[in-house]
């Protein structure tokens, strides 16, 4: 599970900016292509997005 925090278009490629809580106590920050966000064979597959959430 990770957090999408931004988007951009890089030389025609739609990119998503991601905060990933792994590694523990460090985290990581990525720019990934939209197709990578959707699926990467033998690595991951998109499940669900949660948005418009907040404190109860």
């Amino acid at each position: 599970m990770m957090v999408a925090v931004g988007y951009s278009n890089l030389s025609g490629a739609p990119m998503i900016e991601v905060d990933d809580p792994w590694a523990p106590n460090q985290g990581s920050h990525y720019l990934i292509t939209y197709s990578e966000y959707v699926d990467a064979a033998n690595n991951h597959k998109h499940w669900s997005d949660f948005y418009n959430f907040g404190n109860l």
């Binding site: 490629a13 792994w22 106590n25 990581s28 292509t33 990578e36 033998n42 499940w47 948005y51």
Partner: protein, 257 residues
């Protein structure tokens, strides 16, 4: 510059279920070639894209000390990337060929260096003969990837003595990353050499201890040199034997609704 989003939490299933089996052993993919040269050129182009993406507002998130460092970025040498799937790892039997679990990805990882230190990784993928950008990131292992390969190749004999023999190995569902090397392939090579894939840890000891792969095992305690700092080497057979019982746990869970 990236536009900001309200945070969206993304759920992904690590390690897909479709089986794309290995037509290529890792030892046959870790050699320099014309394909590597075209990948190098694409990585150089991606480095220019990266320079344009890092600004005064996001440089720290990408692991840079200041925005001026962006102008000093250079490209390290790339390595092919292989995956290991948890469902296949769970069936691994000690002594069998660990290379048969290593799935070629058509991807290469390039460390981005500043003053010789790895800051992040550019990932490229060969799509229909053309190398395309996949991602910028993986700050946690960038320095280790560039440093360990150089150190080991400089101080090793045999297959570990050539940087061309190295490749990266990821087990996505366990958040584990390794640098690997193996003897040169060769027609008619002895069967036992197939089992001589050696692994070096790229993840920090804390990260490995938190990984589901090493939880409930004494592998790390028994192998204290298996860290990026100590550059200890373990055979893929030994590592996979330790990880296999944990692999089914890594696969468990249902899609969130």
């Amino acid at each position: 510059m990236a536009r900001m989003l309200s945070p969206i939490v993304l759920c992904v299933l690590l390690t897909g279920l479709a089986s794309e089996m290995y037509s290529q052993h890792p030892k046959s993919a870790s050699r320099s070639s014309k394909a590597d040269q075209s990948a190098d050129q694409a990585a150089d182009f991606a480095l220019g894209m990266l320079r344009r993406s890092i600004t005064s507002t996001n440089y720290a998130q990408f692991g840079f000390a200041n925005v001026e460092e962006v102008q000093h970025m250079t490209l390290g040498s790339g390595v092919p990337l292989f995956y290991v799937r948890a469902d296949q790892l769970s069936k691994y039997t000690p002594g069998s060929d660990p290379g048969s679990l290593m799935i070629p990805t058509q991807r290469r990882l390039y460390p981005v260096l500043v003053n010789g230190s790895g800051r992040l990784i550019i990932t490229l993928e060969n799509q229909n003969g053309q190398w395309k950008l996949v991602s910028f990131g993986q700050q946690a292992i960038a320095d280790q990837l560039s440093k360990i390969k150089h150190d080991k190749a400089s101080h090793s004999r045999g297959p570990g003595g050539s940087e061309d023999n190295y490749f990266a190995l990821q087990i996505p569902s366990m958040h584990l990353n390794f640098l690997a090397y193996s003897p040169a392939p060769g027609p008619g090579g002895a069967t036992e050499t197939k089992q001589h894939v050696n692994l070096l840890a790229l993840d920090s000891p804390a990260s490995m201890q938190h990984s589901i792969g090493f939880q409930n095992t004494d592998f790390l305690a028994k192998n204290p040199a298996f860290t990026p700092e100590k550059e200890g080497t373990k055979s893929a057979t030994d590592v996979f034997t330790a990880l296999a019982p944990q692999a089914s746990s890594a696969m468990s869970g249902n899609a969130p609704r």
